[in-house]
């Protein structure tokens, strides 16, 4: 710190830590974030596009389910920090059943002997499944954003429907004294922006600061993906990923923040590691649209602020659109993927021969699919012809998948792989896993909905 800076009072810093980048992320991360150093808030992102349909299916089987169960384990591992040290938790773990999720948190708190110290704020209103017909009748087309198709074409196959809601109900829950906020389908970025709005009192039309909150949220929402995980830049030299530190945003009232991690942890926070996360899943960088604000990612300034510290500032934003994005999941047929491994010599040629044979057999059986896709893992599966033709590969995994509406056809396909071990090309192995499983496809239907059609609610439960 320069002598000039040391004369000015230290601005208040609010520390928001990322503890989960998706449902399935490192179980250790939440506890490590609250125990490794000072944090004020822990944000946990559990929901991906497909997650809502998974939890909807679970709720259909058991009305007390339908949320991210991992969250309960995470809470058990951090109750001391929440109950006694004032760390607040914000998670979109509620899935399609935030109330049941809150019940489960309080039950776990009871068992841990901290029930009196946990106030759960439950955010609802995002779930529009039961309102779909009413919304359609009221003139909301809910057409597919990508294809323009009307929702009526898949209406009878819809499993779940949720509007992505913004930070406002989370801010309300915090204002009402919640120390654990559970939401359904709130945006990933709202989980970080809401505590900053709450702490700094940013106005709902303070576009630049709100945009800064969104950028902080984008950097935190994928967990260690901004602190050295999945980082291509100088990946060999990124230290101690076994002990990786998840990112923390140290935010200030002016909308600037520093991305850091706890001392003594592995990974790396650098301008390149943060940049990689900023461009992840990016669309038009001039308009990163959220329910609260449209952030301009071309305004972001990054600078090195010391070891494992990156300062982020200069962010601008503008007013949001009149719409909320809606995520609808629907049944879309069946799929199965099978594979065999072919070894040198001529591994690629043998795999391609097997593929021709299987396709001929599927034809002769009269099986029809919407799609049959063959890939050659170890040769061209991910980079296609850019990776060459696979000749000379020491081994190739031939991977073939089908999808279609006829479950019986997909089922029959799964029985046609194994015979090739004895009646197809030689030097074949890798069938230990048995027949492939037929999976029902739950596809994703993105749509827009007039904001005025969605009303959120906040309830405190203790």
């Amino acid at each position: 710190m320069s002598s000039h800076e040391s004369e000015t009072p230290t601005p208040r810093v609010v520390r928001v830590a990322s503890g989960q980048g998706f449902w399935g992320d490192w179980l250790e991360a939440p506890r490590r974030q609250v125990e490794g150093g000072q944090v004020d808030y822990l944000m946990l992102d559990y929901l991906a596009e497909v997650t809502m349909s998974i939890v909807q299916k679970q709720k259909e089987r058991d009305p007390r389910m339908g949320y991210a169960r991992d969250f309960i384990g995470a809470m058990q591992s951090i109750f001391p920090a929440v109950a006694d040290r004032g760390v607040k938790v914000i998670a979109n773990a509620g899935g399609v059943n935030p109330n049941a999720c809150a019940d489960a948190v309080l039950e776990a708190a009871e068992q841990a002997g901290v029930r009196g110290k946990i106030r759960v704020g439950v955010v609802t209103g995002d779930d529009i499944l039961d309102r779909l017909d009413e919304l359609l009748a009221a003139g909301h087309p809910l057409a597919n954003m990508d294809t323009g198709e009307p929702l009526t074409s898949i209406r009878d196959r819809v499993l779940s429907a949720n509007a992505y809601i913004g930070s406002t109900p989370i801010v309300e829950a915090l204002a009402q004294g919640a120390n654990v906020v559970v939401t359904g389908r709130s945006t990933d970025t709202a989980l970080t922006m809401a505590p900053l709005r709450h702490e700094f009192g940013w106005a709902v039309d303070d576009w630049d600061r709100l945009a800064a909150g969104i950028v902080a949220g984008h950097i935190l929402e994928c967990g260690a993906q901004s602190s050295g995980g999945n980082c291509l830049h100088e990946w060999r030299t990124i230290p101690d990923l076994a002990n990786v530190g998840y990112p923390i945003a140290e935010a200030m009232a002016d909308g600037s923040f520093v991305i850091s991690k706890h001392p003594g942890t592995g990974g790396r926070i650098s301008v390149p590691s943060v940049t990689e996360q900023l461009v992840y899943e990016m669309g038009d960088p001039h308009a990163y649209i959220t329910p609260d604000v449209v952030a301009d990612f071309t305004s972001i300034r990054l600078e090195d602020a010391g070891e494992n510290r990156v300062r982020v500032h200069g962010i601008t934003g503008g007013p949001p659109t009149p719409f909320l994005k809606v995520s609808i999941a629907y049944r879309a047929g069946f799929k199965a993927v099978g594979s065999l491994v072919y070894a040198w010599p001529d591994a690629m040629e043998k795999a391609q021969a097997a593929d021709r044979i299987l396709r001929e057999r599927l034809d002769r059986l009269g099986l029809r699919f919407d799609q049959v896709l063959s890939e050659y893992v170890g040769a061209t599966a991910t980079h296609g012809a850019l990776a060459g033709d696979g000749r000379g590969a020491p081994e190739v995994q031939w991977r073939i998948g089908v999808r279609g509406n006829d479950r019986a056809a997909v089922e029959r396909f799964t029985r046609e792989i194994a015979p090739l071990v004895l009646n197809g090309p030689p030097s074949v192995t890798g069938f230990a896993g048995g027949r492939p499983k037929v999976e029902e496809i739950v596809a994703y239907w993105p749509a827009l909905l007039d904001k005025r059609a969605v009303t959120t609610a906040v309830r405190i439960q203790e």
Binding site: E49, V50, D146, N230, L232, H233, P272, T275, E276, Q277, L278, V279, Y280, E281, M282, G283, D284, P285, H286, F297, T298, S299, I300, R301, L302, G314, A332, K335, V337, Q371, L373, E375, V377, A381, T382, H383, G384, A385, L386, A387, R399, G401, V402, R403, I441, V442, A443, Y444, P446
Partner: protein
Amino acid sequence: MKIQLVDIAHARSGDKGDTANVGLIALKPQWYPILAHYVSRERVAHHFLGQITGDVVRFELPNLYALNFLLHGALDGGGTLSLKTDAQGKVYSTALLRMTLDIPDADARAVGLPGA
């Protein structure tokens, strides 16, 4: 001189539906103009010819020394519909880094490209 993108840039990719995005980031700020000039929308579309079924859209982020490409129709339907190993477009990033640029020696020397 010829130079492969992997030697002057890093990248990360992700998905939105059937679209993959690739963020291409210069390894050094002074190399960003090379990316901005040579890695055109047309060049990227040609690079992925036969692998994607839709258009390529390109955005510039000079503040991050990065370009962002949207590759439409890159994911066999995307999400859970896709049968691809890389259904979420996670490694389109390094597929783009395979691209080789042909750069006049003087331009390469001016910005200190490796091997120039």
